[in-house]
């Protein structure tokens, strides 16, 4: 006689909502005629993400103190709920951006299905409570992302990106798996809290496992030197997918990284803290310096996402209340800016029918004032300028680092920002300072019809980016309550 475990469906709701949307979309793929498929699919996906977001918000409201669900498989707490809200938001905007993407009609529904599935995977991933669910959730959205990256199959670049992402991703997850196995081996436990309870601090097997787990997670957060796949995948993937990857994946990966490290390896804090700090510096250096000579805008943004992983890892390395707040706060404007930037790139891409380079970005700011100004704001946000949340984010991150005494991390971050000014403002320069008249750009088949949905998506990103600068207090409060749900 098997006594079925009690399942807290409410805790599962966000993932389930997205999963349901995915299933519905598969139905759409089958039953809805091709003519209306695009609209219906997009709507369903959007609704799914919104529903997930709303559920997650409820979840955040209704789970003041963390509990484990279904034995120890997953956790219900505000930390994950907040991350789910952000992820759902990213997904929704990504849908808006995807709407006019030129992809094969026969697979548009599957595309959205995979998008929602990936979202569901991330929503589950951030709730993972033991190493098994961690690995499974990772694979869940990773596999979906592999396919999404390569979905524009006729683009050799897309295919190449997909394959590279897949191979390296598989290696990464194998590493994570092996590390989990080692940790399981020494502790005999799978769930985070009991791994922590089992002790074995600084046991050789444990630390090697920890190293492998860190490698796997840093791989997902695309932190140097585990980031090598990032530029290629971001550049090759369809731009809306890149937008989604760069924002949601980072949110999930970083949030989970911190949770795993804090809740499963509190005894080796000094070890992983130092490791994360070093990785942060490497990411800052590599991401920013490598971005300088890039010409392809998506690639530039990819490297910038590497460097921003570095910034958020500073917050993780600080590992203090301020750092947790910094991490969660930083993720909000960052994901907005990242989505928005890639959305603008997508718009330009569509009107040129060619990959966007600094060269053919020329004059965009004047031709499309709204998108231009938005891009300008996003770049300033990345750069950490006032009037954008990026500024407050960096401020909090540095504050956290100083609070822990990591002043050298502040120095590194400051220098990195100095370097980054060159290429972020370089994009603005490309958009405004040159005239498209200088270089004869023939928009492929004329300028495409204006894309209100994309504009709305960019607008949302803009509002979040700028709003998070002014409405710091509420966001910080939310982050504070979310952080307080972590074990200490």
């Amino acid at each position: 006689m098997i006594n079925r475990p009690h399942v807290d469906w409410f805790a599962l709701a966000p993932s389930l909502a997205l999963l349901g949307a995915a299933g519905l979309l598969l139905m759409v793929a089958v039953f809805v005629p091709r003519s209306g498929r695009r609209q219906v699919a997009a709507f369903v996906a959007f609704a799914g993400f919104v529903a997930a977001g709303v559920w997650a918000a409820f979840l955040d409201d209704r789970s003041p103190n963390p509990v484990a669900v279904v034995h120890d498989a997953m956790l219900r707490d505000r930390w994950s709920a907040l991350a789910q809200v952000i992820i759902a938001g990213c997904g929704a905007v990504a849908v808006l951006v995807s709407y006019r993407e030129q992809m094969r009609d026969e697979h548009v529904a599957e595309y959205y299905a995979l998008l929602t599935a990936a979202g569901a995977g991330m929503a589950f991933f951030v709730q993972a409570g033991n190493l098994m669910t961690l690995f499974l959730g990772l694979e869940w959205f990773s596999i979906a992302l592999y396919v999404l990256t390569a979905i524009d199959i006729d683009l050799i670049g897309s295919l190449e990106a997909g394959l590279k992402y897949l191979i390296i991703g598989a290696v990464g997850s194998a590493t994570l798996l092996f590390g989990s196995a080692l940790v399981y081996g020494i502790t005999g436990e799978l769930s985070f809290d009991r791994i922590a309870a089992a002790g074995h601090a600084h046991d050789s097997m444990l630390v090697v496992g920890l190293a492998m787990i860190i490698a796997g997670l840093m791989f997902k957060s695309s932190a140097a030197p585990f980031h090598m796949w990032t530029p290629d995948a971001y550049q090759g993937a369809p731009t809306p997918v890149t937008a989604f990857m760069s924002s949601a994946t980072k949110v999930a990966a970083l949030v989970v990284s911190y949770r795993v490290l804090v809740s499963a390896f509190p005894h080796s804090t000094d070890l992983w803290r130092a490791a994360i700090a070093v990785i942060a510096i490497v990411s800052l250096a590599w991401g920013n310096i490598a971005a300088l000579v890039q010409r392809n805008v998506k690639r530039i943004l990819a490297y910038s996402s590497v460097s921003h992983a570095g910034f958020m890892l500073i917050a993780i390395a600080a590992q203090n209340p301020l750092g947790e707040r910094a991490l969660l706060y930083y993720l909000i404007p960052y994901s907005a800016m990242s989505l928005g930037a890639f959305a603008v790139v997508a718009a330009r891409e569509r009107e040129l029918g060619a990959p966007v380079t600094l060269q053919n970005f020329a004059g965009f700011g004047w031709e499309r004032p709204f998108l231009g100004v938005s891009m300008w704001v996003f770049m300033l946000g990345f750069l950490g300028f006032p009037l954008t949340g990026g500024f407050i984010g960096k401020f909090y991150v540095f504050a956290a680092a100083y609070d822990h005494g990591y002043w050298w991390l502040i120095v590194a971050g400051v220098i990195a920002t100095m370097i980054s000014a060159y290429y972020y403002l370089g994009i603005v320069r490309a958009m405004y300072f040159r005239d498209s008249a200088e270089l004869q750009l023939a928009p492929a088949g004329g300028s495409p019809p204006h894309d209100p949905l994309l504009a709305i998506g960019v607008g949302i990103a803009l509002v979040v980016t700028v709003g998070s600068f002014f409405a710091v207090q509420p966001l910080i409060d939310v982050a504070h309550s979310a952080a307080s749900s972590l074990p200490f």
Binding site: P5, E106, M132, W140, I143, I153, D154, L182, S204, M205
Partner: protein, 180 residues
């Protein structure tokens, strides 16, 4: 006596496992590599049996040795055998050196781990009951503690299936190739 047989079997399996693994990575023809991998999986299944994982061993043979590898062989056959000359060539000069170094380092680390652990934990495995590793007990786990894992595994498979469909579908007209 039983112990001796176990040793023999273990050595045989381990040896086969290593050899086949090396074969996989060193054969120049993917077809042979795939076959070698089947052997590798089989020998691993034997080791699983030694570790009292009957169900896993069975699954290994059926799912892996059966389904997955068949799929592999099918694809290889579909793509036609393209024997590649000099399988180790290519990449920058420091690639091989670095690869061997990194791999060696990883190996050395784990060995070191084991060596450091030698003598205490790994040598006293817990005593286990008869039902250990039987489908019944595993199934019970799957339906209780690891219910979610079970479900998610199926979801992952579903996602992969959708992906396969999407990727495997036919190409569009040539005008899209121009975008490549």
């Amino acid at each position: 006596m039983a112990n001796f047989i176990v040793w023999v079997v273990w050595f045989g399996a381990a040896f086969a496992c290593l050899v086949s693994a090396l074969a996989v990575v060193s054969f120049s023809n993917p077809f042979y590599s795939a076959l070698a991998l089947i052997g590798n999986l089989a020998s691993l299944a034997v080791l699983y049996l030694l570790l009292a994982g009957e169900f896993v061993a069975a699954g290994q043979v059926l799912v892996y040795g059966g389904a997955v590898m068949v799929m592999f062989l099918f694809v290889i056959a579909y793509l036609g055998d393209r024997t590649e000359d000099s399988p180790w060539a290519g990449g920058p000069s420091w690639q091989v050196f670095g690869a061997v170094l990194a791999g060696g380092a990883l190996l050395a680390e784990v060995i070191a781990v084991v060596a450091l652990k030698a003598g205490n934990l790994l040598e006293q495995p817990k005593h286990i009951g008869r039902s250990f590793g039987t489908p019944a007990s595993l199934g019970r786990l799957f339906l209780t503690d690891h219910l979610l894992a079970f479900e998610i595994t199926s979801i992952v498979l579903l996602v992969a299936a959708v992906g396969g469909v999407v990727l495997g579908s036919h190409a569009r007209a040539t005008e899209s190739d121009a975008r490549a």
